[in-house]
Amino acid sequence: MIAILDYGAGNLTSVRLAFERIGANAIIVDNADDARAADRIVFPGVGSARSGVDGLAQRGFHTLLKDAAARRTPVLAICLGMQMLFASSEEDDGVQCLDIIPGSVKLFHFPASQRVKVPHMGWNTVALPQQHPLLAGIGQHEAFYFVHSYYAKPDSPEHTLGISDYADFSFCAITGRGSVFGTQFHPERSGDAGLRILQNFTTWDTTSCC
């Protein structure tokens, strides 16, 4: 069973429906006990880092996710969920996050003269510098759907599995470490390519990874 973590950070219907669409048994859970019964964890998120981290702590998901990473339970983190995998975010005057992947989260910053729109919202292509089981069947430069104002900056290039450019600025679109995988984009809203990642996740064997 796949548990979709509900920690008050946005509505999860679209994520649940996407798994339903590919025939996977995914349920929304709002407490750590139910989540522990799952063999795969989806960690979505829309909203701000501060409320996200607070919501995780209140429900015991903070510990659950750290344990999942240590036990090699497959974790798919999406958007804000992906950002919270890192050590800290500069959103909301600085927030300590899960520190499952070394690195930090920063606000897009462009000179006013460039007139670049933030949030970065819409379809964008992703380059794949490394192979990964969850990216099987995904070609170079396929497009995915993004909505975000902050981006993750892993300390080590080995934790960058996908790179996108926004107004000539390159940022980490996919991260991964061990059994934890995160996308800045929304696979549940990214057409067939997004569904392929979800499908790959449902069968991902993490026993031999890391």
């Binding site: 219907t13 996407a18 669409r21 007139r115 729109k117 919202m121 819409g122 759907y145 809203r189």
Partner: protein, 253 residues
Amino acid sequence: MDYVSIIPCLDMKDGRVVKGVHFVELQDAADPVAAAKAYCASGADELAFLDITATVEKRRTMFDVLQKVSAVVTVPLTVGGGIRRLQDIDDALAAGASAVSISSAAYRDPQFVREAVKTFGAQRICIAIDVDRNDAMPSKREVYIDGGRTPTGKDAVAFAMEMKDTGAGRILPTSKACDGSCGGYDLAVTRAIAEKTGLPVIASGGAGTLEHFYAAATEGKAAALLAASVFHFGTFTVAQVKDYLRGRGVKVR
């Protein structure tokens, strides 16, 4: 240039697509689920779901249909029509929408938009502005509300700027004069709002030829191009529009 999105719009009434969709493969041309599936298969980048006769009594029906449509849609889905309370937005998201568009309620109560942005995030909130020509206005376009029935005396670009200040994430101006005419988008108001606010603007109302889509993406500075009739009536498929734009150097998925 960023990707330009193509957004087929499902105009809904009592749970059915009003204009019908003339795709040969569809069993039931007015079934929104079949239409949504066909649009996604044809490469739609987003879908809009607009309940043109939204009333409190009918909203339940709309959310039931919306949930069925959401289940087959793999791209973002914006829902509009009668959104006037935070609870309406919550209900739409719970039914699988990724964003809502707010129209009359945004004009009557800008504070509602501020609260909506604070609660759900800017990316979930699109402001739909019905406009019509009025040469007495600085931008020569006046805001209309109540489904285009009531003139407000407010300049369209000035109102768009007020909506930017509320924190809303996108603007969807629809020209009353152009809508359904297939005579082309209102490029002037689309471009003015895009340039003045700096927000992503969805061009809406009037698409009839492939050239109209191109003009809105280039001259109109639109980030997304919404159309109903040409897709409903099968004049073009989404794929044809995207092929055409790609051929003329516009970046599409």
